[in-house]
Symmetry: C2
């Protein structure tokens, strides 16, 4: 009898349980930001991201250039999460029956310009006809320092930190969806966060090289879901202080104008592509300096702590607690709008 | 001004001209069956294939198991074309909002059962919501012998050879599309060729290890198009003798029943997933023995010769010649049915 799968975790768990498994060269398999392979004395990180028109992006907001750039950014963010150095990419492209050269040029330039910044080569791919625009990018990078930083290394007592600000991408998307102009100065920072995110490759590499972060991943589906994934992989709980969540001015102002809760954007909006990591509380300042050294102007904010419990608790300004694990974006959550 | 791109070659050429390019570890980039990377003293081949519901497969004919198996077969066939040994796979899966566990189980089992036969591990991937079913597989393999066999090695005077039979997959598809039963004994061999192709991994590896084949690729879009790609990459021409094309009995009989031309299926049908290679004419028999040693029962047929010209000429039984280059399956050919 067919049984519906209710969320992404179930889908991934089912795939992992049935997937063919091979030799000992595979160090980390299904379930982290990247797979980790041991090849010729080096550790390689591999990740893949599938983006589908109407699900991941709306061509009303994205120029072809920005779309190509964003697919690359989302993938690079997964390598950043392991602290790996980008090297090769493989692009699969599904397009309508009459691909337009200006459109294709834009996509490949956007993707290549960002890839080039981080030393990546587009080495191969596949192009096919498709009813909706589809982009799948699979990229490989070389692990740095003492090897890739995993989701599973968080320890009770660790400080939970994030780079940059949260919720800006969701704020920008909400603005665009409500008919706001992309170049309105009052919304620009948020719109740019949505259309032109910066993958934290340099910061991720620096954190991995420092050997001081215990666990790391990137924030693609919102802190509530991504931190729950880290907690599950590390067999720990997490506590987040609402008042510590870093929200920039534009995000707060747009929330007020649109009647939205900026906290919701920060917890569940997704596509921040910032780094989430844990470390010894005594080393937060040192790691903040390391991150600032790697990417000028990039802040590190301590947003909570790792506990011996399970799940993710949000502690409000009134000290009230609520469980928020897995309340971020989920492609397959039952009851989600289709 | 937007300019429509008229065929896959134009699309790939445009992408290759704009793609970011990196260090000297990349030995073969966009344009062959696989990219070739030099890592830690070994050569690695990487390939990716995107399959979209309604374009590449019809769920009326494919069980979930056969669909998963075919995605793996199509990818393994690209590694076979380089003579590489399969190692890792990365699967991106786009599905409806309520994925059914029986369906997903079938797809992953089909894919994993075939992967396991060749020592491949499914190491990672991505799962997203999508309006149509989408499967993208990216796989890596280790090159054998003196390194991967490329498309560009064909030399004037070479014999042009193919493994197995041609046109059976197209015959099986035509049978199914005209309402034929999948298990009709008179059509079974062709239907199986369409639904359950065998990638020629062992034969490809043996040919690469022999060091005697000059050029190799797999037949996925039909001999007319794939041989034209090889001729172009090798800067040579090709001449194919119509009467030498290996057609099995079922394919001939189905052509008669359906009023179709079996030669068209062999030249333009696609999805044969057999190997196309060239070699010294004096060594065809030796290579046929090597292939039979690697895959019992697998034949090698010499179908033509490499010339100093350009394009691909088909020589009929009446000695009439016609140019057939690129008349096989093309996702973006202008004027093709949408």
């Amino acid at each position: 009898m067919p049984v519906a799968l209710d969320n992404e975790e179930d889908v991934v768990r089912l795939i992992a349980s049935l997937a063919c498994k091979g030799g000992d060269e595979l160090r980390v398999g299904i379930g982290d930001d990247c797979a980790v392979l041991s090849l010729g004395g080096h550790l390689w990180c591999v990740t893949t991201d599938l983006m589908v028109e109407g699900v991941h992006f709306d061509l009303a907001y994205f120029t072809p250039y920005d779309l190509g750039r964003k697919v690359m950014a989302a993938n690079l963010s997964d390598l950043a999460a392991m602290g790996a150095d980008p090297r090769w990419g493989f692009l699969s492209l599904g397009m309508g029956p009459k691909p337009d050269s200006a459109f294709l040029r834009g996509v490949i330039r956007g993707l290549s310009d960002l890839g080039k910044q981080y030393g990546l080569s587009l080495a191969g791919g596949d192009t096919v006809r498709s009813p909706a625009l589809i982009l799948n990018l699979c990229i490989m990078g070389l692990a740095q320092g003492q090897g890739p930083l995993l989701r599973s290394g968080a320890r009770p007592g660790d400080a939970i930190c994030v780079t940059g600000n949260l919720g800006a991408s969701a704020a920008g998307l909400a603005w665009l969806q409500q008919g706001g102009e992309a170049d309105d100065p009052a919304a620009l920072a948020a719109v740019q966060a949505h259309l032109r995110p910066t993958p934290r490759v340099a910061a991720g590499r620096a954190l991995a090289q420092s050997g001081r972060a215990h666990a790391m991943m990137d924030l693609s589906d919102g802190l509530a879901t991504d931190l729950a994934r880290m907690a599950l992989a590390s067999q720990v709980g997490a506590e987040v202080l609402a008042e510590r969540l870093p929200l920039d001015r534009t995000t707060r102002e747009l929330a007020q104008r649109l009647g939205a809760d900026p906290l919701e954007w920060a917890l569940s909006g997704g596509e921040d592509f910032e780094l989430l990591f844990t470390c010894d509380p005594a080393e937060v300042e040192l790691l903040a300096e390391i991150v600032e050294e790697a990417e000028a102007g990039l802040t590190v904010t301590r947003v909570g702590r790792v506990t011996r419990g399970t799940g993710v608790e949000l502690v409000g300004p009134d000290k009230q607690r609520r469980q928020i694990a897995f309340s971020g974006f989920d492609h397959f959550r039952a009851g989600q709008p289709e």
